[in-house]
């Protein structure tokens, strides 16, 4: 045959599906080894995580209910909505263990759906960054414009509902200073919130949702707002309030002066003040450690089981006598 006219496919290892390949097989050895390895790796990690979590000192104090004066106990809403009632509330917290600086001060909200679809969407990222885009408020409904049509900066439900409780901490009669600088992400301050964008027409009319903002301070420095606007993932969440840069000794009692302004009574939301130290795995959390120990334990257990299985019921790999047609000859 003429070689040129031949339509024979040109040979290549690819087209013949003969590319060199690594063909791993999960042999019993490999399986046992991986079970044991995972087991021996996971249990120590779990223990480490547990001990780290154990070292975290966390104090939390729920104050939303106790801060309602007794005469308003059945009508918390009218209490919080009444501007004439004094909202200050004093709480005392015992410190069980020494709190080593930095101590993080959080407020915790529960049953507050910061991830609600209507809420999450009600903001304008453009407006926060760019002074020229202050009219970009079409997503911010129902808090986009004032009645006379001026844009609200920052617009939207999220900003409108900015948390406005404040805390003053003191121990042994001395005030503990809370550093509120640097509580927001640096990236947010730098790029997300403009240093030349100033609040305008904010909380000026209609229903007041929460905190007001100083119109002299650009958004990039309104760290409470920045923190608040990084919406939480879950309906029970904490937000950083500030940092305490001095240690607090064990058995001290902390006097907290709370300005209880924020209305969570309407929808049964709870408020907590949390003081916590932190380690490499973050705050107090035993789950991760337990999970690791659990997984590691199962792996070790399975590893041992498989060892027993291979000892008592061995099977030679690739033994043709196990092939189905060798086991039951075809009639």
């Amino acid at each position: 045959m003429d070689h040129k006219n031949s339509k024979k496919p040109t040979y290549s290892r690819f087209s013949q599906q003969e590319l060199p390949a690594w063909k791993p097989i999960l042999t019993p050895g490999w399986a046992i080894a991986s079970f044991i390895t995972i087991g021996t790796l996971f249990i120590p990690i779990g223990l480490l995580a547990l001990s780290a979590s154990d070292n975290v000192v966390e104090i939390s104090d729920r104050y939303d209910e106790v801060c309602v004066p007794d005469d308003y106990s059945s009508k918390a809403e009218s209490y919080i909505q009444n501007p004439d009632v004094k909202k200050t509330c004093i709480r005392t917290i015992k410190v069980p263990k020494k709190l080593v600086a930095p101590i993080f001060v959080y407020y915790q909200l529960e049953n507050f759906y910061q991830n609600h679809r209507r809420y999450v969407k009600s903001r304008s990222n453009k407006q926060l960054r760019d002074p020229k885009a202050e009219d970009d408020t079409h997503d911010c409904f129902p808090k986009s414009k004032t009645k006379d049509g001026k844009p609200i900066v920052p617009c939207g439900l999220i900003a409108w509902s900015l948390f406005n409780d404040t805390y003053k901490l003191s121990t042994r009669g001395k005030e503990i200073s809370i550093n509120k600088k640097g509580i927001a992400w640096k990236s947010d301050r730098k790029a997300k919130f403009g240093s030349n964008v100033y609040p305008k027409n904010f909380q000026k009319e209609g229903l007041i949702g929460g905190a007001t903002l100083d119109e002299q301070i650009p958004l990039s420095e309104q760290e409470d707002l920045i923190v608040w606007m990084r919406t939480a993932a879950l309906p029970k969440f904490r937000k950083l309030y500030g940092k305490i840069e001095t240690d607090i000794e064990a058995h001290d009692s902390i006097k907290v002066e709370i300005e209880n302004n924020y209305n969570t009574y309407k929808f049964g939301g709870r408020k907590k003040l949390v003081l916590s130290t932190t380690t490499w795995i973050g705050g107090k959390n035993d789950f991760v450690g337990m999970a690791y120990i659990g997984v590691g334990g199962i792996c070790l257990f399975m590893g041992i089981n498989f060892i027993l299985l291979y000892v008592f019921r061995p099977r030679r790999l690739g033994d043709p006598s196990y092939l189905s047609w060798n086991r039951h000859p075809i009639a």
Partner: protein, 1192 residues
């Protein structure tokens, strides 16, 4: 009913294979019914009509092919045939009127289309709308579209505009680019085709005109080796008798020459001088390339036209200087264009099963949506009073004077909206992208099948062809193979083997002539002419044929070979070779049997060197002799013989007849020499019992009186206006009698290489091989033995009956015997002896489509082998349907001829052998290849791989999409059922486009569970596909449970780890995104069996690409998640979570996998281990075939 045509290819062989239903017999039912099979799939009704018809044999031998016809004196038999058609008058309403040489008038009344063709679908302007329109015909795209549209409604806007349109847009774009490229190539081809120049008669002069400007009614002239620009009716040719030779390779792939005729009434006209005018009334354009009926009024005479008078677009004129014809169909109305449609589309079984599971998945989807919307309803109801000023809901808008509800439409509507929104969010639960992935994977698999050098046939230089792109994986699940015999199991390269001349058997020693000196050749003008094919000759016979004396035996040998050389329709064509002094004679003809006989005659010194319609020239032992061909009676299916009346140079006249033994012995005068007849019969029997095709040759000298009588009646018959075919047949029967027996020939149709081994492999693989052939029973059985289909240990049940009652009885008997035998076998555990059923077509007439079918099925399913002989084409389909309708098993039909078309279309998978017999089988098939033995690599290797790959891919895609949806669903439960996703919308969209799309396609194309070698040495491994081991309902549910577990792990580990923390939604979303992408890719990685660099690149590449995408998305300040991933990655908890998720999600799977592998290893597992640990020695010890092992 009897086909009323007489016009078929040359001879019929005794073996009498159902020859190709094709055109000659225009009027017959069969040709119309079978040809319609090409276009529509309703063979079944046709089958009925066939089986009720009385003459089974006539159907079988009825040939469909274009005719080769050498009628004397230019009166072609085709005329008679055409006439018989004209009795079925063409209705004026159904006719198209063509005024010859008057395109204006022709085109004035009817708007016939011009000759420009457009195979391209689109133009620049229509591309966008038309392509989109066509794309949206697919359900998958409609789903995307509806979801995207829903998302545009402001109340439902889950995703942003861009993100919601991206999946649809990317799919549309990819498909559009593919379509545009294909169309551009078509346009290019069209342009070349349309601008080709042809010579057209304008104002009595032939002028060059572009092909696209040709109009119906114009007269065109086509010269030798030119392609016909449109369908033309031949008016005259350079041959004085009006013959034209055409090659139809572009049309049907058949390379031999066919003849077409000009009508006597027009052939003498010269277009430039004579005024040609007339009216052709022909049928409307249709796609039957083998049928044409029309009549022509010329000079006040009405003549009928048949398929032998039309030359179709795409044919090439050969051996004829020019042809003049009138255009009847142009452009897209030509038969070639009308036939331009693809193979019928089939749907693979895996896909059918997959669709079942997809319905389940849509139930899951609806369930999830109902849960979400119901919960959302409850939530709203419970918070009814608080919604107005709830900071994260704020139903009331106080900014206006009038306090009104903001974006709230009442509880009912809110529930409805959240249902629709959840459909949008959970849309990928239904893996629509899977359909697109499957298409891509099949293209990849097809590439590998086509490129496989083990399936390349060097002999015919043909590659494997994948014509259907959607049933690749069916090849891995076949349970029944139905095979044709001739050309499929055998080569269909006929070789003359033995001759019995006057009762003497010449089947002694063979010398093969190779090289320059040995072969027979002749000298012409100082040049050496030799036949193109070399034939083995019998030395004794060769010697005898060379000695010329007046002994009786020498004379008989002379007559015998003269008959072989003369009594046929072969056209010798002289071909130049590289050596200027040497020429080859190529014998062109329709029947390979005839070719073999003429080559054989040439090898013994009777070389046919010239044939015209009036005479032939034969070089007999170096001496040229010219014989007048006074008449020829074509082969027809009743007589099953053909004859030629030769006028010798010494003006004696003899009639030579050759044909099938059954009909020949009836017309042989046995009294002349009884012993010769007896011994010839014996020889015939022994020839056919070793699988040879036999023919009997006879001769009679005609007295002058006899000749005159014959000639008169022949003339009358040939020019008769009514019933010409019948008259001619009568004339033939009158002359073909009282013959003296010259002898018989035996032609071998050799078994293809590797057939016995292939059949053995298929049988080991648990595939039942049935052979359906038109051959005689003896031939079929002998081929059965030589192909190892039958073994001597097998018990044969032969059913061979002529009435329904006897059929019933023998079926019942056979059932009883087979039951007994199978019981015995079961007891003795001897797997060798089994039952073979041999049944013939006549019996099948009574069995198929009657209540006996059930019994036949029961019997056949008990038999290891079934051989059906003498079956008609539609019976083949009937047998396939017998199995297909009663079992769930997959069927594959393989064949090479037009008679296999119906069977190929009926079976789940149709395979065509692209061999000697034209391309009709290939055109109807899903896959086409050169050799039967390629079935083994095709099914056992590629079929197995395709099935495993596709099955795994489908399950994996279900898992991949469901996992993501479950994770979204869990999160929705923590958002007040408001369908917020913490995973960014871009990640949601890119998940199935970038993050996880490529590895599954790569694995679907490239992963191999076992090597080719193991699959070939262990055909039994094929059983995994037959048993649906890799895709079934159980596996689906197991996968879904695993999916649920993995989703719980992925979702809840981060959730609990970050419980009561200050994590923001975007960060947690990023963690989930990364975790889910890691998991699905690792999950895939755990199942990959062969890690080539491509699999490494795609899997690890996807993970890296995901990380890059997440980083890029988080680097856009305009998005809420700005910089989240960087903050997240700096915390230890993130890494701990990721590692924990990976391990915890895989553990159950890993444990189950290990446990199953150890305790219940499947065959594939063992074979894989054996492969890895080189236990190949043990495998080969079990004694199996060494076939097509990869050579490296």
């Amino acid at each position: 009913m009897l086909p009323n045509s007489s016009q078929v290819r040359g001879w019929i062989m005794t073996s009498n294979r159902p020859s190709l239903p094709t055109p000659g017999s225009t009027g017959s039912d069969l040709s119309s019914s079978t040809s319609s099979n090409n276009s529509d799939n309703n063979q079944i009704p046709n089958l009925h009509s066939l089986q009720n018809s009385s003459s089974q044999l006539s159907i079988k031998s009825n040939s469909w092919r274009a005719s080769v016809n050498f009628g004397s004196k230019g009166v072609s038999v085709a005329d008679s045939e055409g006439f018989s058609i004209s009795r079925r008058e063409i209705n004026d309403d159904d006719a198209r009127l063509v005024y010859v040489n008057d395109p204006l008038k022709t085109n004035e009344t009817f708007e016939f289309c011009g000759n420009s063709i457009r195979t391209g679908k689109y133009s620049v302007f229509t591309f966008l709308p038309r392509n989109l329109f066509e794309q949206f015909h697919r359900v998958a795209y409609m789903y995307f579209l509806i979801i995207a549209i829903l998302n545009q409604l402001p109340q439902l806007a889950v995703f942003g505009r861009g993100a919601s349109i991206l999946p649809l847009a990317s799919v549309l774009f990819v498909t559009a680019v593919k379509d545009a490229y294909e169309d551009w190539r078509r346009h290019k081809a069209d342009k070349i085709e349309n601008n080709r120049l042809s010579s057209v008669l304008v104002n009595d002069r032939f002028q060059h005109k572009r092909s696209k400007d040709i109009q119906v009614g114009e007269i065109v002239k086509v010269s030798a080796d030119e392609t016909i620009p449109c369908d033309i009716v031949v008016l005259s040719t350079s041959d004085p008798t009006g013959v034209a030779y055409v090659q139809t390779i572009n049309l049907d792939g058949e390379s031999n020459l066919k003849t077409r005729y000009a009508k006597q009434e027009t052939l003498s006209k010269v277009p430039e001088k004579d005024v040609i005018s007339g009216l052709i009334k022909c049928e409307k354009p249709n796609r039957n390339i083998y049928g044409f009926q029309a009549n022509m009024e010329v000079d006040g005479k009405r003549v009928s036209l048949g398929p032998s008078n039309i030359i179709l677009r795409g044919c090439v004129i050969k051996n004829t200087d020019w042809v003049v014809g009138v255009v009847v169909y142009a452009g897209r109305e030509t038969k070639a264009m009308l036939n331009n449609s693809g193979a019928p589309s089939k749907r693979s079984r895996l896909e059918t099963h997959m669709n079942r599971e997809i319905i389940l998945l849509s139930f899951f989807l609806v369930t999830l949506c109902i849960i979400v919307s119901a919960c959302a309803g409850f939530w709203l109801k419970r918070h009814q009073d608080e919604l107005d000023i709830m900071p994260f809901y704020r139903r009331k808008d106080y900014s206006k004077e009038q306090v009104e509800n903001y974006n709230y439409y009442g509880l009912g509507m809110e529930i409805f909206f959240s249902f629709l929104m959840s459909v949008i969010v959970f849309q990928i639960m239904i893996p629509i992208s899977l359909y697109i992935s499957m298409e891509l994977v099949r293209v990849g698999q097809a590439y590998f099948m086509i490129r496989d050098d083990k399936m390349f046939d060097a002999a015919s230089n043909t590659k494997f062809q994948c014509r259907a792109l959607n049933i690749n994986e069916d090849l891995g699940q076949i349970k029944y193979v139905f095979s044709d015999k001739t050309g499929t199991l055998t080569e269909n390269k006929m070789e003359f083997q033995f001759a019995s001349i006057s009762g003497v058997d010449y089947s002694g020693e063979k010398i093969e002539f190779y090289g320059e000196q040995g072969a027979y050749n002749i000298q012409v003008d100082g040049q050496v002419w030799r036949p193109k094919m070399k034939v083995q000759v019998d030395s004794k016979l060769l010697k005898l044929s060379k000695t010329r004396n007046d002994t009786k035996s020498s004379k008989e040998i002379y007559d015998f070979f003269l008959a072989l050389a003369a009594c046929n329709t072969i056209v010798p064509i002289v071909v130049n070779t590289s050596n200027p002094n040497e020429k080859l004679i190529d014998y062109q003809g329709e029947s390979p049997d005839e070719q073999a006989l003429v080559y054989a005659a040439a090898a013994y010194g009777f070389m046919l060197i010239e044939r015209t319609s009036g005479h032939i020239v034969i070089d007999i032992q170096g001496e040229r002799q010219r014989f007048n061909v006074l008449g020829m009676h074509e082969f027809d299916s009743d007589r099953k013989r053909m004859s030629v009346i030769l006028g010798y140079p010494d003006s004696t006249v003899k009639v030579f007849v050759k044909g099938a033994d059954t009909t020949m012995f009836k017309v042989i005068d046995e009294s002349l020499n009884l012993s010769v007849v007896k011994s010839t019969e014996n020889h015939l029997h022994s020839y056919s019992s070793i699988g040879l095709r036999t023919l009997v040759v006879g001769m009679r000298a005609l007295s002058i009186a006899e000749f005159d009588t014959w000639q008169t009646s022949y003339e009358i018959a040939s020019t008769a206006l009514m019933g010409r075919a019948g008259l001619l047949r009568k004339v033939a029967i009158n002359i073909e009698n009282n013959l003296s027996l010259l002898g018989a020939s035996a032609i071998e149709d050799r078994l293809q290489k590797g057939v016995p081994e292939a059949i053995e492999s298929l049988r080991k693989a648990g595939i039942k091989v049935w052979v359906l052939t038109g051959d005689k029973q003896e031939t079929a059985i002998s081929i059965g033995y030589s192909s190892k289909l039958l073994t001597s240990k097998m018990m044969q049940i032969i059913i061979n009956n002529n009435s329904k009652m006897s059929c019933k009885k023998s079926l019942e008997d056979a059932l009883i015997t087979s039951r007994k035998l199978i019981n015995v076998t079961r007891a003795s555990e001897d797997d060798e002896s089994s039952v073979a059923l041999i049944i013939d077509g006549t019996s099948l007439v009574y069995i198929l489509d009657s209540e006996l079918e059930e019994q036949l099925f029961e019997l056949a399913s008990k038999c290891a082998v079934v051989l059906c002989c003498r079956v008609a084409p539609l019976q083949k389909a009937g047998i396939v349907a017998l199995i297909k309708n009663r079992t769930d098993d997959m069927t594959l039909a393989i064949g090479d001829g037009a008679n296999d078309v119906s069977m190929i279309q009926m079976a789940d998978v149709g395979v065509g052998i692209s061999g000697q017999e034209g391309r009709q089988a290939v055109m109807a098939s899903d896959f086409a290849m050169g050799q039967f033995r390629f079935l083994v690599p095709l099914m056992l290797v590629h079929g197995h791989w395709n099935y495993q790959r596709m099955a795994y891919m489908i399950l994996y895609n279900f898992y991949r999409n469901a996992l993501f949806v479950f994770i979204l669903f869990w999160y929705v439960l923590y958002t007040g059922f408001t369908l917020t996703t913490s995973i960014t919308e871009w990640s949601s969209v890119l998940y199935s486009v970038i993050y996880t799309a490529i590895p599954t396609i790569v694995v679907g194309i490239l992963d191999k569970d076992l090597s080719r070698k193991s699959l070939m040495t262990y055909p039994q491994l094929y059983g995994s596909g037959q048993r649906k081991e890799s895709y079934n309902a159980k596996l689906f549910w197991v996968t879904m449970v695993d999916t649920l577990w993995q989703s719980v792990v992925v979702f809840f580990i981060p959730l609990l780890a970050f419980w009561e923390s200050d994590i923001d939604s975007s960060s947690l979303g990023d963690l989930w995104t990364l975790a889910v992408v890691f998991i699905v890719n690792i999950h895939l990685a755990m199942d990959v069996i062969r890690w080539t660099w491509i699999s490494h690149a795609s899997i690890w590449g996807s993970i890296i690409a995901t990380c890059i995408c997440v980083i890029v998305i988080d680097a856009i300040p305009a998005l809420p998640g700005y910089w989240a991933i960087f903050n997240l990655a700096s915390s230890g908890l993130f890494w701990i979570c990721l590692l924990g998720i990976l391990i915890a999600s895989m553990i159950p799977r890993f444990i189950v996998k290990m446990f199953m592998q150890h305790c219940k290893p499947c065959d594939r597992q063992i074979a894989r281990e054996a492969e890895k640990f080189q236990n190949a020695m043990e495998i080969t010890r079990n004694g199996e075939i060494e076939m097509n092992l990869p050579h490296r």
